[in-house]
Symmetry: C2
Subunit: 474 residues, 2 copies
C-alpha cells in the first residue's frame, strides 16, 4: 500500500476533543430544555429512499440531495431492489437524468422534517397523539461549501403533531427563550408573525401578483429596504398603489399588543379587502393574541426579547400559521433558529390533515455566537481533570491504587503511561488542558502524601489522598 | 404530489423515543467510563474520500463501502473535484469498475479506525501524544441485511496512540470490566491473548503453511472443534504431526498465571522452534505478565471474568500485540467487544511507527443482551415525568404557572394541549409511559390544592404544589 496524503471532503469537518466538548455542551442544553417540555427523542436513518426525499425540497433541493450508489454491481439489475430495470448502454449515454433512478435508490438525510413526517405516517397506528418529538442529527446537502456553509451539519428540531392548540406556539417561545438564556445569549430577539396576517396583506392589495411573490419581496426588506421592495413588487406585477397600501400596513408600530390592535383596526378600515381575507387576517391576529395570553399565564417576563414582526415571512412554503425566527443582536450572524405551524406535513405520504408546529436550532451558528461572545464555560473545554506523574517503575505501580480511588470518586484522571522526566509530563498536561497534576516522589511516598499542583497558578500544596479527592471533586 | 407509501431502506432502522432513551443510556455509561480514564471525544465526517477508505478493508470491504455519487451532473467533468477526467460512453458501457472512480469520489464511513488514523496523520503537528480518543458514531456497510446485521450501526471505539506502555492494555481490561459491571452484565468473560504467542505457535510447528492460515483455523475451534480444525490444517498444508504439536500447546490449562508459566516452559521444551520464534513468544508472554502485574496494582478483583485464551485469534490482520474479546455468558450472542494493539495504524497515510491499542463496543449487541436479561433500568424508558390535566379554558390558564414551577424544579412535564375528558388524558399518559398525573378541578383550585395520581398503582393523594414537587423530584 503506497503512502498517500489524506484529506477530508470539501465542506466536511473533523471535530477534535475540545470542539466536541463544546458542541456537546450546546446539544446538552437544548436536549434538557426539550425534554423538560415533554419532547422525546427520535432518530431516523442516515440513508433514506430517494422516493421519500425527491420532490419534497423543490427542484433546487432535489439537486442538493447526496445520492448513494446501489451496492454491488450498480449498473446491473439488482435483486430485491426497488428499481429492477437494467441499465442499458443507451441510458448511460443519455446522461444523468436517465441513469440516476436506475443506479441510485438511496440518498442522505437532507433535513429532519421529511423523515419525521415519514416516521409519523409509517407509525401512525402505534404513536400516541399529540406526538412531541425532538431530533438532533446531522443532515447533508451538496451545496457549494462556503464560510459557515457546510455539506454536513447538525439540526436540532422539536415538533409536535396532532394538535391545533396554540399552547404549543407559546411553549416554543418559552423553549427558545430558555435555551438562549441558559447559553448566555441574552441579547436576542424572537420574531413572531403569522402566515394568515401575511395572507391578509396580500388580499388587501387587491389580488395582484401572487402570494409567494409578495412574501418573497417582504422577506428581503431587511436587506434591500423599502425602495428595493417596491421596485421588486412592481417587477412582479403589483401596482404602485398596492405597494403603498402594503407599506401603510407594514408601518404599524408599538409593542406586541399595540401592533395587534392597530392591525385589527387597519384590516377593517382598509376597506379594500374582500370579507374572507379580512376574516383570515383576523384569525391570524387572534391566534397571536391567544399565544400572548398563554405567555402571560406562564409568567413570561422577557417581553423585550419578543417582537411581532409583520415583515417576517420565512421561506418555506408549507407554513400555514404562526412563524418564528431568532436573531442574536450582538453578533453579526443570520438567524440561529426558525420554525412555524404547518397544516399538511404528512400529506405527501398519504396522511392528510395532520397539523403541527415545530422549530429548529442551527448548532453551527449558535457555536459561532458563543465563541464570538466568549460564552463557553471554561469547564467545558477539558475532560481529564488530573494527571498522575510517573517517575519510575516503582512509583508507577504505587500510583495505580491512587488512580483507582480517584476514578472511583468520579474524577477523570490518567497516569502518564511512561516513566520519565517530569517536565515532559507537565507539558503534556498543559497541552491537553488538564488543570491538576498529582505528584508523589519517594519522599512523599514515605510520608503517605502527595503534591497537588494547579497548573493555571503554579501553586503546589502537600495533601493526603483524601484531601486531594476533596479538592478535585469540588 | 401524489401520495406514496413511505418506507426506509433495507438494513436501516428508525429509533423511537423509548429505544433512543435506552440506547443513550448505554452510550452514557460507555462515555462516562471512557472519560474517567482520560479518553477524549473525537468526531469525524460521515463522508470520507474514497481514496482514504479504499484498500483498507480488503477486497470484500471495498465492495461493502457505500459510494456517494458526485453532485451536480455526475457524468460530466467536475470543477474542483479530485477526479477531473470526463466519463465517456465507452467507460459507461465497460461497466462498474471503469466508471466508479469517475462518478463517485466519496464514501460513507466504514469503521472508526481508518478515519482515526487519517485524523492522527492530518493533525500530527498539533496533537499531544500519547493521544487518547474515543469515538461513538455510526458506520455503514452494504452488507446483506440479516437478523442482527444492519447497514447502519453504531461503533464505540477507544484508542490510545503514541505509546507502547502496557498500562494501556491493563486499563482497557478495567474499562471493559467497568462498563459491563455498570450495565449489570456481570456474567461475562474478557478473553485476552497475544499475537506473538500465536506467532510462536506457528513457528513451533516448523514453518509449514502460513501464519494467517493457522490463525484462521484456530479462530474456528469454538465452532468446529478439534477434529474440524485438524482437518482444516491438513487441507491448508500443515502436517498431522504439526497439528498434534499445536494441540499440545493449546491444551495448556490452569488460571491466567499458570497458563503463562506452562507456556513459557512449553516453548522451551518444545525444542522445535527456532530461537527467534521462541524469543518472540517469550515477549508475548512477558507482555501478558506485565498486564497482569498492572491489574494487580490496580486492585482488580474480577479474575473469574478474565481468561487467557490461547485460541483467541481475532480476524483483523493489523494486530501485533495483545488482543481482546468479550463474551456475555448468559446470553446466546457473539462477542460484544474486541480490540488489540497495532504497530502501524497510520503507515498507509505516510506516518510509520505509530503504535497504539484500542477496542470497540458493539452497541446493538449490548442492547440485545440488556433487553434479553431485562437489565434496562425502568427510569430510562420515559422522558416526561408528569402530565397536567386540562379541563377547560379556565383550568388550562390556571395550570400554566404550575407547569412553569414544575419545570423550574427540573421536572419534565407537559400540560395536555387540549381541554377535554379526563379519561382521554389518562390514556395519553398511560400510552406515553408518563408515571404521574397532576389534576386540579374547580374544587381543588378553590382550596389551592391538587390531586397527584400515580398511574402504576392508581393511588391518588391530595397535595399542595410544594408537596407535588417534593414527590416528583424524589
Amino acid at each position: 500500500m503506497s503512502a498517500q496524503k489524506p484529506s477530508i471532503p470539501q465542506g466536511t469537518r473533523d471535530f477534535g476533543p475540545a470542539v466536541v466538548a463544546r458542541r456537546n455542551y450546546i446539544f446538552g442544553v437544548i436536549r434538557r430544555v426539550f425534554e423538560k417540555f415533554g419532547y422525546a427523542p427520535l432518530e431516523t436513518p442516515t440513508l433514506e429512499n430517494l422516493s421519500v426525499l425527491t420532490g419534497k425540497y423543490g427542484e433546487e433541493g432535489n439537486q442538493l440531495i447526496f445520492k448513494v450508489l446501489n451496492s454491488g454491481n450498480f449498473l446491473k439489475k439488482q435483486k430485491g431492489d426497488v428499481v429492477k430495470e437494467e441499465v442499458t448502454p443507451e441510458d448511460l449515454i443519455a446522461g444523468t437524468r436517465a441513469v440516476l433512478p436506475k443506479i441510485a435508490e438511496k440518498g442522505l438525510r437532507y433535513d429532519l422534517t421529511v423523515p419525521f413526517a415519514r416516521y409519523v405516517v409509517m407509525n401512525r397506528g402505534t404513536l400516541t397523539f399529540p406526538f412531541k418529538r425532538y431530533q438532533i442529527q446531522p443532515v447533508w446537502r451538496a451545496d457549494r461549501p462556503a464560510r459557515g456553509r457546510y455539506r454536513e451539519f447538525y439540526q436540532c428540531d422539536a415538533d409536535v403533531v396532532g394538535t391545533d392548540s396554540l399552547l404549543c406556539e407559546a411553549e416554543i417561545v418559552l423553549m427558545m427563550s430558555e435555551v438562549l438564556t441558559t447559553l448566555g445569549l441574552t441579547d436576542h430577539t424572537i420574531k413572531i408573525n403569522h402566515r394568515r396576517v401575511l395572507g391578509a396583506f396580500y388580499q388587501a392589495l387587491g389580488g395582484e401578483g401572487t402570494e409567494i411573490d409578495l412574501f418573497t419581496a417582504i422577506d428581503k426588506l431587511d436587506k434591500i429596504g423599502r425602495e428595493g421592495v417596491e421596485k421588486e413588487l412592481l417587477e412582479r406585477g403589483f401596482s404602485a398603489a398596492a405597494a403603498e397600501r402594503l407599506f401603510d400596513l407594514l408601518s404599524v408600530e408599538g409593542d406586541f399588543e399595540e401592533k395587534l390592535e392597530r392591525l385589527l383596526a387597519g384590516f377593517v378600515t382598509a376597506g379594500v379587502a374582500p370579507d374572507n381575507a379580512t376574516a383570515d387576517g383576523y384569525k391570524g391576529l387572534q391566534d397571536l393574541q391567544q399565544v400572548l395570553a398563554y405567555l402571560r399565564g406562564f409568567g413570561f417576563d422577557k417581553w423585550q426579547n419578543l417582537e411581532f414582526d409583520v415583515t417576517l415571512a420565512r421561506g418555506l412554503s408549507y407554513y400555514t400559521g404562526c412563524i418564528f425566527e431568532i436573531k442574536i443582536n450582538n453578533v453579526n450572524m443570520g438567524s440561529v433558529s426558525g420554525g412555524g405551524r404547518y397544516d399538511n406535513l404528512t400529506g405527501a405520504f398519504g396522511l392528510p390533515g395532520v397539523s403541527g408546529v415545530g422549530f429548529s436550532f442551527g448548532v453551527d451558528r449558535l457555536y459561532d455566537c458563543l465563541e464570538d461572545l466568549q460564552l463557553f464555560p471554561e469547564a467545558v473545554a477539558t475532560t481529564t481533570r488530573c494527571l498522575l506523574t510517573n517517575f519510575d517503575a516503582e512509583s508507577e505501580l504505587a500510583m495505580l491504587p491512587v488512580l483507582r480511588q480517584l476514578r472511583a470518586a468520579g474524577v477523570a484522571s490518567e497516569l502518564f503511561p511512561e516513566a520519565g522526566k517530569l517536565g515532559k509530563q507537565f507539558k503534556f498536561a498543559d497541552a491537553k488542558g488538564i488543570p491538576y497534576v498529582l505528584i508523589q516522589g519517594p519522599e512523599e511516598r514515605a510520608a503517605g502524601q502527595f503534591k497537588l499542583k494547579t497548573l493555571a497558578t503554579g501553586q503546589e500544596q502537600v495533601v493526603t489522598l483524601e484531601e486531594a479527592i476533596t479538592e478535585l471533586t469540588k
